[in-house]
């Protein structure tokens, strides 16, 4: 339960971190909050020969409102984002999802950018970013969330590319959002999760985004074209939930069979859609 020996580089800037990653390629790992990486090091599931510590890099801990979105620096701690007024006021989905991430003490150290770059298929922040249609800003480009997550622990980042920020679209007029998950204990990895963002105009759905998490290898964006123009009622919410359950193929795990996890998807999608609708309509 101790990490293998590695070289430690305290990055002084984004450029310094990128140079170090470029030099060492796959042998290097980026250390942000360490709440996923250090357990993997301790259990020797990860054996990097170089660790690039971002924690002293300046300028990565800003939280700013930009064009109706919230730009969250990669090193912003999850607990800091949870308490930030712009997040609570302008991006209720992010505010709602953060308390579901780990525990108070792990959120004190865990970062928003780290959770996104780690890309655990059961993590809440990637699910919320996909549901909202946010972006990942890297050291060289901007990547839409749904193109960022590729599969388990795998993103479209190049080996020498660094996440520097994420942008979270803020709530607009007539919008509502909601997240639902089921975990055996609070703070555990969810067996299934769902997040929804709706915009309602003239009493009908004008735009809809719905993502399902934990049940496949990445957050899955569902087809919501048929929702536009409808008024969400119990029947439609149930149908959308049933369709989402059929669209995914969850593997069995210790706590649930594929059929059980599908049933969870149906229920969680129904609830998320209903709550997002109620919030958008109010």
């Amino acid at each position: 339960m101790k990490p293998v020996p590695f070289a430690y580089v305290r990055a002084e800037s984004v450029e310094h971190a990128v140079e170090t990653l470029h030099e060492h390629g796959d042998e290097a790992k980026v250390l942000a909050g360490g709440q996923s990486l250090v357990p993997a090091l301790n259990m020797r599931l990860a054996r990097p020969s170089v660790l690039v510590d971002l924690n002293r890099v300046e300028g990565l801990d800003g939280l700013d409102q930009v064009n109706g979105s919230i730009r969250v620096g990669a090193l912003v701690r999850q607990a800091a984002a949870e308490r930030a007024e712009p997040v609570r006021k302008r991006c209720p989905l992010l505010a709602e999802v953060l308390p579901l991430v780990g525990h108070v003490v792990t959120r004190n150290r865990g970062t928003i950018g780290g959770s996104i770059a780690h890309a655990d298929a059961a993590a809440e922040l990637p699910l919320a970013l996909v549901a909202l249609g946010g972006d990942v800003i890297t050291s060289r480009r901007t990547i839409p969330a749904e193109a960022f997550f590729v599969t388990h622990f795998t993103t479209s980042l190049e080996p020498d590319e660094l996440v520097v920020a994420t942008t979270w679209p803020g709530n607009r007029e007539g919008e509502g959002s909601a997240v639902e998950e089921f975990a055996v204990r609070h703070g555990d990895f969810a067996l299934a999760s769902a997040a929804c963002r709706l915009r309602v105009a003239n009493g009908r759905v004008a735009e809809a985004r719905l993502a399902v998490g934990s049940v496949t290898d990445r957050p899955e964006l569902m087809d919501t074209q048929d929702l536009v123009g409808t008024e969400i009622d119990a029947e439609i919410a149930r149908e959308v939930g049933a369709a989402a359950a059929q669209a995914v193929d969850p593997p069995p795990n210790l706590h649930g069979s594929p059929a059980y996890r599908r049933a969870l998807v149906a229920t969680l999608v129904k609830r998320a859609l209903t709550r997002a609708w109620e919030r958008a309509a109010s």
Binding site: P3, V38, P39, L41, N42, R77, G102, H103, V104, R109
Partner: protein, 153 residues
């Protein structure tokens, strides 16, 4: 080996560490401060929780080199002048510990909760405790103890 300088409970330490040395092992083995306990060593049990520049964090998920220049508080720093911290007193009064393995981590997380929330609700206390495993008490006495101190601070 990398030089680090930090304060623990107000006292300054200068040591040389291997990059892979966990902060929890640095505290226990290098400095001999064994009040911080190591349970799971992968961030699940919460026994190793300390305060790093005020924030309650898992010391098993930090490298000692990362703590260079920081101020750390551990359970050894809670009692002052031979007097137990009011949380420690409340834990004794409510029988909020039996074997004591989880206690130091919970105390450090609880001091942060009370400072931050002033008067945390029972729900907030339970939420904080979800990150700490205790196999003796069933948690209720721990919630009672923290609630008592939170109500009076």
């Amino acid at each position: 080996m990398i030089p680090v300088e930090l304060t623990v409970n107000g006292r300054t330490y200068r040591e040389e560490v291997e990059p892979r040395l966990l902060l929890s092992d640095f505290l226990r083995h290098t400095l001999g401060l064994t009040g911080t306990h190591v349970g799971c060593e992968h961030g699940v049990c919460g026994a190793c929780t300390i305060r790093l520049d005020g924030a309650a964090v898992r010391s098993c998920l930090l490298l000692a080199v990362q703590a260079d220049g920081s101020a750390i508080e551990t359970v050894e720093g809670l009692a002052a002048n031979g007097e137990l911290h009011q949380l420690q007193d409340a834990f004794r009064e409510h029988h909020a510990l039996q074997c004591g393995f989880c206690t130091s981590g919970i105390l450090m997380a609880a001091t942060e909760l009370i400072e931050r929330s002033k008067r945390p609700t029972r729900g907030e206390i339970v939420d904080m405790l979800s990150g700490h495993l205790c196999r003796c008490t069933g948690y209720e006495p721990i919630v009672d103890a923290i609630e008592q101190v939170a109500g009076h601070s």
